[in-house]
């Protein structure tokens, strides 16, 4: 309960305590973790000094391994080694298309719509595989920083839909990470470049990763990063470049068994190496030696250009659409931030520079820039920089709607709307005595249900039976700052909160997650108790400290004697149980104290806003709005 600080900047009411917070870039190809230490942001290396963790998970005979070791198994044991798992986050079985087939996994037949990949360790979902990568990064951070993490900012492609974001958050939960925020990758990159300081104007962030493409148009103004529009393709990236090159190699070398998983992976790796080499040199030699096929050849930049141009063009189409959505012209863009390993490909830089006709920012390592930005944001969110002016205002990338008669989608929240956002919609019954109603929530721009992505089906039930049309159900669609949708419903005439059964179309439901969590902590029970006790004690201290600071500042001003004594009683109760060895009791006492303070907190927030806005008015509108400033 961080009762907000009304203190003047620089006059901190509590001693400053640095919290450990990290930024995590959970990438298709590589993942990274970064943090801010003594004011500087840096990515954290492993014991061997490597910063990038390949996003590869190998399910071995005994145990799981992640990263470089797993990568080596990718060719020898492809069926048990998961690469590019990000492509499958929040996806359904029917989304797995021919283009994904070159990953050569076997998908298990289950009744759940969440695809599970068959491995020798059992069937695993994309969420579980991602959780393994996150666990590894978390362990690296805890070890390097020497303490438990307060939380992490995890980045996602701006173009990720609700299901993909939810899957990412679930993976973090499974890995035991407190998610401070899901942050869009392009926004993170803009933060890393520190473009806010002394900069005003419009920029574009072009982010081409291993499996996803994002374009964001941002307006910078005095520490605020305001996303105006975002667009992209959540399944287009460097992997597709590799695939084009691999197809070319297969055709040139006339490889017959190109469908064999081992060969597929090998050729894909050769394709990637060739692509990377061509960023440095004009031509690269390729040697194929598989089964009965030996071939020697060369790939040059001209050929590469021919292979990749259609893909890069696709990204530029998204750029133009994003500009149009933002309502601005190409010539208004001052700089383009280049992000993602695939922007190393020269053709990409050339075509992007041609398109925007302006300077490309490439000075920060395109692989590390997103993690660095996330770390800067994590540092602010953890409360390490209370006076920081930085603020990120993001948008929802794809429209949200509901199914209506005839298989059509009615949009409720349009894409590129600033988040958080809430929209209420009224529904009524069409039959006498009807007590339940089904809602189908979709995301996408098209008009037909079948062309949009199904997010969830909700069943509203428990409202009183009436004649048709007499019941009024107000459904509120709230999108939070992570871009995640929360749906609530109530019957307006009776005030009954209708209960909602959520059936996520692709995500894991809560019970699935719970059981995974149970599995992963099986015998660590005692440990867990101790940890939770310590955590609750720390939390209690934090709550008390914040409360005392708040009371000292404005307790007299905002509270009646009666309220004060009630808060004091709850405060004493918490202090009493704090030393007891019972985490659950402490938790209850914290909850009790928070409940007692509810009005006080709300009052403080409003007062704070009022004070700040008046200060603002005096500064900026002194000449024309004095009357309003005078108002009590």
């Amino acid at each position: 309960m961080a009762l907000i600080q009304i203190a003047e900047p620089g006059q901190s009411t509590t001693p400053h305590q640095h919290k450990l917070a990290v930024g995590i870039d959970l990438g298709t190809t590589n993942s990274l973790v970064a943090t801010v230490r003594s004011g500087d942001v840096s990515t954290l290396p492993d014991a061997e000094g490597r910063h990038l963790l390949p996003s590869v998970v190998h399910y071995a005979e005994f145990g799981v391994c992640v990263g470089h070791v797993a990568q080596q198994k990718s060719i020898t044991d492809p069926l048990n080694t998961i690469v590019s798992v990000k492509r499958f986050m929040g996806r359904g079985l029917e989304d797995i298309t021919a283009e994904d087939a070159h990953y050569s996994y076997t998908f298990a037949e289950t009744d759940s719509k969440v695809p599970r990949i068959k491995t020798r360790a059992g069937n695993v979902s994309a969420v579980e595989v991602s959780a393994e990568i996150l666990k590894k990064l978390k362990a690296r951070a805890v070890e390097t920083l020497g303490g438990e993490l307060t939380g992490a900012v995890i980045t996602v492609p701006a173009y990720f839909d609700d299901a993909q974001r939810q899957a990412t958050k679930d993976a973090a939960r499974l890995a035991g990470i407190n998610v401070l925020r899901l942050l869009n990758e392009p926004t993170a990159a803009a933060v890393a470049y520190g473009l806010d300081t002394g900069n005003e104007g419009l920029i574009a962030v072009y982010d081409l990763g291993g499996g996803t493409f994002d374009i964001s148009i941002l307006r910078l103004n005095k520490g605020v990063f305001e996303v105006l529009a975002t667009g992209g393709d959540s399944s287009l990236g460097g992997d597709d470049f590799d695939y084009e090159i691999a197809q070319w190699i297969v055709a040139q070398a006339k490889i017959n068994n190109a469908d064999k998983p081992e060969i597929k992976r090998l050729i894909m790796q050769q394709a990637r190496s060739a692509k990377e080499a061509l960023a440095e040199q004009e031509e690269v030699e390729i040697n194929v030696d598989v089964d009965d096929c030996q071939w020697q050849g060369a790939l040059d930049r001209l050929q590469l250009r021919e292979l990749l141009t259609p893909l890069v063009k696709k990204t530029l189409m998204s750029c133009r659409r994003a500009l149009r959505d933002a309502g601005i012209g190409k010539d208004e863009i001052r700089e383009v931030v280049m992000v993602g390993g695939s922007t190393r490909t020269l053709l990409v830089r050339e075509m992007v520079a041609d398109f925007f006709e302006c300077e490309l920012l490439t000075s920060i390592d395109p692989d590390k820039v997103v993690a660095a930005g996330a770390a800067l944001q994590a540092d602010v969110l953890a409360g390490n920089k209370p006076d920081d002016e930085m603020l990120l205002l993001d948008v929802i990338p794809l429209s949200l709607g509901i199914e209506t008669m005839g298989g059509l989608v009615e949009k409720i929240i349009h894409r590129n709307t600033a988040i958080p956002v809430a929209k209420a919609q009224d529904f009524t019954t069409y039959k006498d005595g009807q007590t339940a109603m089904a809602l189908h929530v979709l995301q996408g721009e098209r008009e037909l249900v079948s062309d949009c992505r199904s997010l969830a089906r909700f069943e509203l039930r428990g409202f009183p039976p009436h004649v048709a049309g007499a019941v009024r159900i107000r459904v509120t669609f709230q999108v939070d700052a992570d871009g995640l949708l929360i749906v609530t419903a109530r019957e307006e005439n009776s005030g009954v909160e209708a209960s909602i059964d959520v059936k996520p179309s692709y995500g894991l439901n809560d019970s699935e997650i719970e059981s995974m969590l149970r599995d992963s902590i099986d015998h660590a029970e005692d440990d867990m108790h101790l940890r939770s006790l310590r955590e609750q004690q720390v939390e209690a201290d934090r709550v008390l400290e914040a409360l005392d600071a708040a009371l000292a500042t404005d307790g007299e001003l905002l509270l009646s004697e009666e309220e004060k004594s009630r808060i004091k009683a709850a405060r004493e109760a918490l202090i009493t149980v704090k030393s007891a060895a019972d985490g659950e009791k402490i938790k209850q006492a914290i909850k009790q104290l928070e409940a007692t303070c509810e009005d006080y907190v709300a009052r403080r927030m409003n007062t704070n806003i009022k004070i700040a806005m008046q200060g603002h008015s005096i500064d900026e509108y002194a000449s024309d709005s004095e009357a309003e400033v005078e108002e009590p």
Binding site: A2, K222, M317, R324, V380, P420, D480, A481, N608, S617
Partner: protein, 182 residues
Amino acid sequence: MSKDILKSNFFELFELPVSYDVDLNQIQQHYMALQKQVHPDKFASGSDQEKRLSMQQTSWINEAQATLKDPVLRANYLLQLKGADKDQGSETTMDAAFLMQQLEMRERLENIKNETDPLSVLDSMAKEIRLSTKTMMAGFTSSYEENQFDDAREWIRKLQFLKKATTEINALTADIEDELMS
């Protein structure tokens, strides 16, 4: 501004007079100043209550900004504040000449791909729409100020037509540009 953000109307939030003419600059500046106070990022390590309140307040401010910036939504909101946003039973008929114009435009859009230079046709149509939007907005202003709410609603309906047409023109332009590029 009244004390509680969630109980303030959109004009109060941005300290604007209740009027169809708004200072977009002032909206933007107030919007930023409010965001710096209430955005969920300011309460990332706050209590659940603070998080919830901050999300609700930010949502409200976002809605306020989106409403006041858009000519159709703003007009509708003004009538809503007067309790005059819904038709009062007297079903008005649309201006026939305007409807004819809209039908012609629709037809032209449907056959746009047969034009020799579809992009420039779309461009000039967009320009025309921008011009008529200005006329409609002026029309709304005077009807609204004279409390002629039936007329005001008629202007809004016309503005809505134009807004929809603009969306369609933009979508078609994007499609054609994509086709030309690939």
